[in-house]
Amino acid sequence: MKLDLETRDRLLSIGFPILLLLLWELIVRIGWLDERFFSAPSTVLVALWTMTAKGELLGQLWLLPEAIAKNGWDGAIKILSEGHLWVSLFRIFGGFFLGAIPGIVLGVVMGMNRTVRVALDPVVSAVYVLPKIAILPLVMLIFGIGETSKIVVVGISSFFLVLINTTVGVRDIEPIFFEAAKNYGANRWQTFWHVIIPGALPVIFAGLRLSLGTALIVIIAAEFVAAQYGLGYLIWFSWQTLLTEKMFAGLVVIMILGALFTGGLQFIEHKLMPWQREERPATAEAKSV
């Protein structure tokens, strides 16, 4: 029987990882890999389940209705803030929006205005190369050891990535589109909405994708050293206490998060930029296999 290329690809891309996991399970079971350092996939799965059931990962969700009835929003927040996943997500998205929105605004200004661009470019380039986690201590000096400093660090890292991409995106818009807009009577505001934003959107989104990935890295690192909750803390603490299955469970959750972020952004991109959809069949790729 001959499978068509697409079906074969799909089977291969699902089947091979499963094979790897089975192999891992087997090697641990027969004792070639030390169970204490490399938990078997089945053990990790069980750990994930118990952590969810005990409310470590998502908080004690079953207490939610009661808490909301008693204390409203505050009650709900209190319960969720005991789940490592929610805490990390809050920090990631808090920082992401804190950085991305001003990043887009200033990026458009830098893309359009030569004076601002020339003045800010060296500063931006200098700060950009700095690993953002390196300024966590400085940020903690300013904002203290609470939530704010973690969100600010993520915000700073998002800001520069989005800023640089937006600037490039705006600069790369073909001048003829500005000329067409001008000739057909567009004012500044109309030029912004009808030319600059849609013209730069694909590159802005590339920046958003990068910065969401970086946000994940930065927050995990920050939680390693300066937190009592969050996925980074979970991994770090599990390592220190040699609860390796929980450490792996944390890694799995982060992998799932990363995949969801990428998929979610792709979905939004698809909705927001219908003109970017490729109508052509991907024959080139299929042929090369």
Partner: protein, 279 residues
Amino acid sequence: MKDEKLFIFHPSSFIFLVSIMAVKITTTNVSKFFPSRGRVVTAVKNFNLQVQEGEFVCIVGPSGCGKSTFLRILGGLTPVSSGEVQLVPSQSGAPLQSIVFQEYAIFPWKTVTDNVAFGLEMRGVAPKERRAIASDWLKKVGLTKFADCYPHQLSGGMKQRVSIARAFANDPEILLMDEPLGALDAQTRAVLQEELIRLWEASRKTVVYITHSIEESVFLGDRVILMTAHPGTFKSEFAIPFARPRAFELTGTPEFSRLTYAIWKELQGEVKRAMEQQQ
């Protein structure tokens, strides 16, 4: 500020012009200099042009002669370095001029309908009305089926139809066309020339049409103006006597060939000079 000065209209000259004829465009000694690597390059030199209302004027010149720059000056995208440009408005409310650009200057992020309605949208025409106007123009250029498509789904010829429809839908008093069919293959080009002449003969707007094709200029225009090689200036002009409405059969007649040949003989020297300059 310099841009806007182009369109400032002097009442005194208006009375003067109207008293002779309905002159729509007048340029007087228009020159354009560009600074380039420490030198000053002259793109257009002392160019004089008068276009009557409802006239279809083609400007032909060798490549690099500054004919596109001249059109950009008329369209207010580039200020003049010296000289004067007057576009005379005759109705209020309608836009004075719209450009059909050389390359595919329709917005890739807008649907065909939104592209055609762009000028109307910028002028604040209500959504329902501008969609109706756009769909009417799409019908005229045979793109009704593609109304909701994005430009990347269209062929080159279709894209340029959208670009032409965008200009006509905006309903300006003057249409400025910058080699709108220059990037198309010969067959598509012939089809679009016929469509264009049909659209224009129905509306009789004032047109300045830039092209490097002599055949195209003779087929479309009432008058053909030749430009010299760089720096571009007025060389000579030919009146095109063929009756309208014109159809593609015209291009097969001996009169048509004689005229295109006469223009080619006149322009030949400039084209050679332009080629030498580029070496």
